[in-house]
Amino acid sequence: MGTWVFLAAGWVLLTALFGLVTSRNLIHAIGCLTVAQSSTYLLLLAVGYRRGATAPVYSDLTPGTRPVVDPVVQALALTDVVVGATVTALLLALTIQLHKRHHTVDPQSLTGLKG
């Protein structure tokens, strides 16, 4: 697989960015943000992978018998998941209120702030 896994992370990030730049719907934009975040999971977990390794859980594994993948990046990815989910919730709450007041969720029709 080589560097393809790492390149895939960049591809996911830029695809999400393309979606964000051209978005005509805020819900879609927030979805794109979540896609951008998945690129970080992909990179972190790929960085922590080790050939032939298993999960770093020793409840049914004798220490030293098998290599395990890097537990630190897994913990980082877990933190990242929670951060992403909560930020998404906040942004969606803002979108709900915006839709009530503005009757649209198209970012291109929001013109209240400029100059």
Partner: protein, 251 residues
């Protein structure tokens, strides 16, 4: 900027970023490298602390301060949603109405409810032993409660969901993570020091403060998520906007 100008500018810049990203990837250590210095140190430290699930050991012991920030983000999000999804001045409250549910759906959800609750509690309690932990188990627990919404209707959900209690429990759980940290500072000399007895490896009480912190996070995630979803559901079910009066006739 016109749509076209924006797109051209973006595509040019993105091409440059893509080129640099690829060049950087070429210098990364090869995929599946055996060299993970921090990871190996973390595994050794977790085994020394008798925590079988090393990911939990990293999250709740070695790098527990990260998790303090993380659960505070969750707590802040619940507070933020409380603020943002409050009833606006020109909105009215509407009583949710009873809805019909297909008998099969009702049966399925009723059967699933106890199973989901049990899985949630198990996942939180065994966080230091098997994959899972407070965050994952908390989400399962919050989902379990919402099966009541699927099985019956919103009014049934309101009955099984004492929001005030859950909201207070969410805040108290958030505070108790910090308090466990301060207890470590007072008795052990360092904030979030693992001061409890470590127990026997691979039992439910092993790992010192890891299961305690796991449980506080489990409670916080379950309560916080239910409150968060409650604010969102209120928007859909209970609030009528300023221009919806005519449709519902509910002034």
């Amino acid at each position: 900027m016109s749509t076209r100008a924006r797109l051209v500018m973006f595509l040019l810049a993105a091409a440059v970023v893509a080129a640099f990203f690829s060049a950087a990837c070429a210098h990364l250590p090869p995929f599946a490298t055996p060299d993970h210095p921090y990871g190996e140190r973390a595994v050794a430290a977790a085994l020394e602390r008798r925590t079988a699930n090393v990911v939990s050991a990293v999250n709740f012991d070695i790098r527990a301060f990260d998790t303090l920030g993380e659960e505070s983000i969750l707590f802040g999000t619940v507070l933020g949603a409380t603020l943002l999804l409050r009833r606006a001045r020109d909105e009215r409250h509407r009583r949710p109405v009873a809805e019909r549910v297909m008998p099969t759906t009702r049966l399925f959800a009723t059967l699933l409810l106890p199973v989901t609750l049990a899985v949630g509690v198990y996942t939180v309690a065994h966080g230091q032993l098997s994959p899972g932990g407070g965050f994952q188990g908390g989400v399962v627990l919050a989902t379990a409660l919402h099966l009541a919404y699927v099985a019956a209707d919103y009014r049934a959900l309101q009955k099984v969901r004492p929001l005030v209690v859950l909201d207070v429990a969410d805040s108290l759980a958030a505070a108790s993570y910090t308090l466990v940290g301060l207890a470590g500072l007072i008795t052990g000399g360092a904030f979030l020091q693992n001061v409890l007895p470590l127990g026997t490896f691979n039992t439910i009480t092993s790992g010192g403060t890891v299961p305690v912190l796991n449980a506080t996070v489990g409670v916080e995630v379950a309560c916080g998520l239910i409150c968060l979803l409650a604010h969102f559901l209120d928007q859909a079910v209970e609030f009528t906007g300023p221009d919806q009066y005519e449709k519902t006739g509910d002034r």
